[in-house]
């Protein structure tokens, strides 16, 4: 046991930056894709809808790790040499898109159908209905589960350590290899994850309360 020096700590904090960056890239890229998939998933066109469902189910049914191996080692064999950050971003982005697409589809469907009827009866076009009536309500519904999913994502970024990308978890491993102080090192790593995730979890719960209190504006 024993405490970590400033050099070791600053190494961990720097790696935390990479964890946060990777989370941000995966969340934004996956979110954009996920929004698109959610819209396709809600399409009335059966083929479009089936493609979206297949995409979601395939990605949700395989470990992110396999997607990561496929994009890092698989694509490398096929002649595309991806840097670890890119391979990691792509894999996590795909994973995020499949889950957010489902969360957001559910949120859109959770808006009562009477809201569609009322806005249609006021002569709004489907695009206007989405923009002014449905999505503003769906976003409120989706915020707690979306933030909850973000917490999962922060923790799941740790799997990219297996392709040599040095984020927080990988930094902990490296540090421990040098120092062999597993309790101090991994304790510090866990504490950093906790400091990121705990406030997010609280935020998610808080949002849930706010939006369930009956005041939906």
């Amino acid at each position: 046991m024993g405490f970590l020096g400033t050099d070791e700590l600053s190494f961990l904090i720097e790696s935390t930056g990479w964890t946060l960056l990777l989370t941000a890239i995966a969340f934004v890229a996956g979110g954009l894709m996920g929004a698109g998939i959610a819209i396709l998933r809600l399409s009335r066109n059966r083929i479009v809808k089936s493609v979206a469902i297949a995409y979601i189910q395939v990605l949700q049914s395989i470990p992110v790790l396999m997607v990561l191996f496929l994009s890092y080692y698989g694509l490398a064999l096929a002649g595309f040499d991806l840097p670890p950050l890119l391979a990691a971003s792509i894999s996590l982005g795909l994973y995020v898109s499949a889950y957010l697409a489902e969360i957001w589809r559910g949120s859109i469907e959770a808006v009562p159908y009477q809201q569609w009827e009322a806005s249609a009866s006021l002569a709004l076009s489907p695009a206007q209905q989405y923009a002014h009536v449905i999505l503003p309500q769906a976003v409120r519904i989706s915020l707690p589960p979306t933030v909850g999913f973000l917490v999962q994502l922060v923790k799941n970024t740790s799997i990219v350590s297996v392709v040599g990308f040095v984020e927080l978890a990988r930094a902990g491993q490296l540090l421990n290899n040098a120092l062999f102080k597993p309790f101090a090192v991994f304790g510090a790593v866990a504490a950093i994850y906790f400091m990121i995730c705990f406030p997010l979890s609280r935020l998610s719960r808080h949002l849930e309360k706010v939006f369930h209190a009956g005041r939906r504006h």
Partner: protein
């Protein structure tokens, strides 16, 4: 020319035929009440008039628009035909004023200042001028329903449809809504309403239609219809309402 023409309309949900050849007209400025037991098809008929439900055969024309299911033509129709629902269906994330101004601004290009003025006018008309900036959740059911009426009025509709608008309200709140509707009727609005309020139908609607098992069972001036029902079905329906 009548404001609403319904001609031999048939409508089925799967194998169940809920409208079995309905014909009915509403003259401009007239108020027509549709009464009948649940399941008689009266709400379905009303929802066919603004295209919320499709019908299999027959013809409906309202405010000069033929009801078909071309989305563009349907939107044109809905600019002229307002509907108020049993469950109010206000947009909960928007204030009362925003609820009212949304469609005039989006679909009729009314500019902001004008839209505000319009919202003030229609709110005053339903007696809720002081609720301009409130959110729907902070209003009573009766107030929400009056806002829903105001929201429809802001479109300057030629015909208004009312689908059991007081059925979800506590008895002490129905009066304020019925009063607003009575004022509208007196003001010359063309209204087609499905209602359980017999006394309202009798006193405000010039014509009452009694629907039974997907058909227009009886149809005539409200006073006569209620005083001298010609069929047993209507007689027992009126009696069951008096309790």
């Amino acid at each position: 020319m009548p404001a609403v023409v319904i001609e031999d309309v048939h409508k089925s949900f799967g194998a169940v035929e809920v409208l079995k050849g309905i014909s009915l007209t509403v003259e401009p400025g007239e108020t027509v009440a549709i009464i009948g037991r649940s399941g008689s098809g009266k709400s379905t008929l009303l929802r066919c008039v603004n295209g919320l439900e499709r019908f299999q055969s027959g013809r409906i024309e309202v405010a000069g628009h033929a009801v078909d299911h071309d989305p563009k033509r349907l939107r044109e129709l809905r600019k002229d035909v307002g509907i108020v629902f049993q469950s109010y269906n206000l947009f909960p994330h928007l204030t009362v004023a925003q609820n009212i101004m949304l469609s005039p601004r989006l679909t009729q290009g009314v500019e902001k200042g004008k839209a505000r003025q319009l919202a003030e006018e229609v709110l005053a008309q339903v007696g809720l001028a002081d609720k301009f900036d409130s959110y729907p959740d902070n209003l009573s059911g009766g107030q929400q329903q009056r806002v829903a009426i105001a929201r429809s009025l802001a479109m300057k509709p030629k015909v208004m449809l009312f689908d059991e608008v007081t059925s979800a309200l506590d008895p002490e709140l129905t009066g304020e809504v019925l009063l607003v509707m009575e004022e509208l009727a007196k003001g010359g609005m063309t209204m087609l309403l499905v209602t359980h309020e017999m006394s309202f139908a009798r006193s405000v609607a010039a014509t009452t239609v009694f629907m039974h098992q997907g058909r227009v069972w009886e149809h005539g001036p409200s006073r006569e219809l209620f005083a001298q029902p010609r069929t047993d079905e209507l007689r027992s329906f009126i009696r069951s309402d008096l309790k």
